[in-house]
């Protein structure tokens, strides 16, 4: 039986993958007030492409990451330009047309992946090797350690970006009051597109590290975004530190439920947690009150 501490590390690692996905959503949501359901498709395409590049074509790791970053960023920008921008002209994020188009993009990309690669999952190796380290009495794989550190760095980076940089300030302003931001010289449409671009780049950059843990398949996108959503909901919308916490909690719950009950128990437990948080503390545990209650 795997030890408690080993499960702890794998839980944190899995949680870190959720955090990375959550940050991708967070950026787009902060800039546009849209929850991008199309992210499922981007994750799937990116993960399967990483398989193609790293395993089938044996492209170098650095080059693969580069190609993925630029490629998925481009795909994301295309999504914004063709399927979001036309809608934002009429009523912006308040009308719900974007839920449909983002779902449509997600399905279309997943459907394409299904046709090209079929439903079976693929494994993608991590260049750091497979020999586990021992930390605090638990075994950690190199890729797990990497992804945990990456998640923390990305969260801090996102927070700093939003609060300290010029672009970040413009993004927060766009989210707070779009019209006022426009009057004050912020290129709101540009901010919107940039958020999609950066989010897509984030997907590309992190895929090669995330995929060894989650495997590449058509189905991974859906579960990932639901767990990422749960992480955000538990931690509180608009609060990056909260998302970090939420992601780790979700990962740990997933790992320990798997250990003690079975692989199917994790998702159910997380869903129950999500419903409980929505019912009792809708703004999340550390909510930044950007969710509007009815």
């Amino acid at each position: 039986m795997t030890s408690i501490m080993t499960t702890f590390w794998s839980g944190l690692a899995v949680g870190s993958t959720y955090i990375l996905v959550a940050l991708q959503f967070d950026l787009i949501y902060t800039a546009t007030r849209i929850f991008n359901f199309g992210q499922t498709g981007l994750l799937v395409i990116s993960s399967l492409m990483s398989y193609v590049l790293l395993v089938q074509l044996q492209v170098s790791w650095i080059l693969s990451v580069l190609i993925l970053t630029v490629g998925v960023a481009g795909l994301s920008v295309a999504q914004e330009y063709f399927t979001i921008r036309p809608l934002m002209k009429h009523g912006g994020a308040d009308s719900h047309g974007w839920v449909l188009t983002t779902l449509g993009v997600g399905s279309a990309l997943q459907g394409t992946a299904l046709l090209i690669w079929g439903p079976d999952p693929r494994t993608v190796p991590f260049p750091g090797g497979i020999d586990p380290l021992t930390i605090l009495n638990g075994r950690v794989l190199p890729v797990e350690l990497t992804v945990i550190i990456l998640a923390i760095i990305a969260t801090v980076g996102m927070r700093l970006f939003l609060t300290r940089s010029r672009m970040g300030l413009a993004t927060l302003a766009t989210a707070a009051d779009r019209d006022l931001a426009m009057l004050r010289g912020v290129n709101v449409a540009g901010v919107s597109m940039a958020s999609f671009a950066v989010s897509g780049a984030l997907v590309g950059v992190t895929t090669a590290i995330v995929v060894p843990i989650t495997f590449a398949s058509v189905d991974m996108g859906q579960q990932l975004i639901m767990f990422a959503f749960s992480a955000i909901a538990i931690g509180g919308f608009g609060n990056q530190a909260g998302t970090l916490f939420g992601g780790f909690v979700v990962g740990l719950v997933q790992a320990y439920c798997s250990l003690f009950i079975g692989p199917d128990a994790g998702p159910i437990a997380i869903m129950i947690m999500l419903l409980a948080v929505l019912l009792l503390r809708p703004a999340g545990l550390f909510g930044a009150s950007s969710t509007r209650a009815i």
Partner: protein, 227 residues
């Protein structure tokens, strides 16, 4: 004429209904032009159309001789047209300093020395300098209005359009705001100010345009009583 805002035959509105018709006026550097009229006569519509938030149905808006009708709102801001919308609108969840920093988005890139601009603004608005890190939402009404104006000014605009800047302010706050406005005109900035009551503009405006039912019905050249 340099840095003059010229509006000609402007028609605009919401959802197929024209809210303003054939609006024509100019604002030259150093002038204070007032637009007055009851609620709903089209004053804010005019400001929003000049700002670029509402589309122009007919007519034109020229600035510095060039037609800016096709430019988006943020581009007009970067050209030097600053709009201070009604309602003391600022970014409440951000600090005073962050609000001002945000205002530099409209600053001409060639003049974009953010540190200097901040210093200049703090010199002109001591009140805000003392409250740099305060959350904008916790300021009093009058202070918020001053912040809104400062946020527009930090971009060194050539024309300022202020929509009901004195609404809901105490008499002393109103005095401060008008002092700022007079100062702007004195330094060569053209000001268009929207007010509901004609009485408030006596002694401030060089010219007063009265609106009714979407049109300008009269124009008076009173000139400031106190120069």
């Amino acid at each position: 004429m340099r840095n003059t805002l010229a509006v000609e035959g402007l028609c605009a509105g919401y959802d197929d209904l024209l809210a303003i018709r054939d609006v024509t006026f100019t604002v030259a550097p150093g002038e204070i032009v007032a637009i007055v009229g009851r609620n709903g006569v089209g004053k804010t519509t005019t400001v929003n159309t000049v700002a670029g938030i509402l589309p122009i149905v007919r007519g034109s808006v020229h600035f510095n001789g060039a037609d800016i009708g096709k430019l988006q709102a943020f581009q007009r801001a970067r050209l030097g047209i600053a709009v201070v919308p009604e309602g003391r609108r600022i970014f409440r969840a951000m600090s005073v300093e962050d609000n001002l920093l945000l205002g530099t988005q409209a600053l001409d890139p060639s003049r974009r020395n953010v540190r200097d601009s901040l210093t200049d603004i703090y010199r002109g608005f001591e009140l805000l300098a003392e409250r740099k890190s305060v959350l904008a939402g916790s300021l009093s009404g009058g202070q918020q209005q001053l912040l809104a104006i400062a946020q527009a000014l930090i971009a060194r605009p050539a024309i300022v359009l202020a929509d009901e800047p004195t609404a809901g302010l105490s008499p002393s706050a109103i005095t401060s705001v008008f002092e700022v406005i007079r100062g702007l005109a004195a330094s060569g900035i053209g000001v268009l100010i929207v007010e509901e009551r004609m009485e408030h503009m006596t002694g401030i405006a060089d010219r007063t345009l009265t609106f009714d039912h979407g049109r300008i019905i009269s124009e008076s050249h009173e000139g400031p009583l106190i120069s």
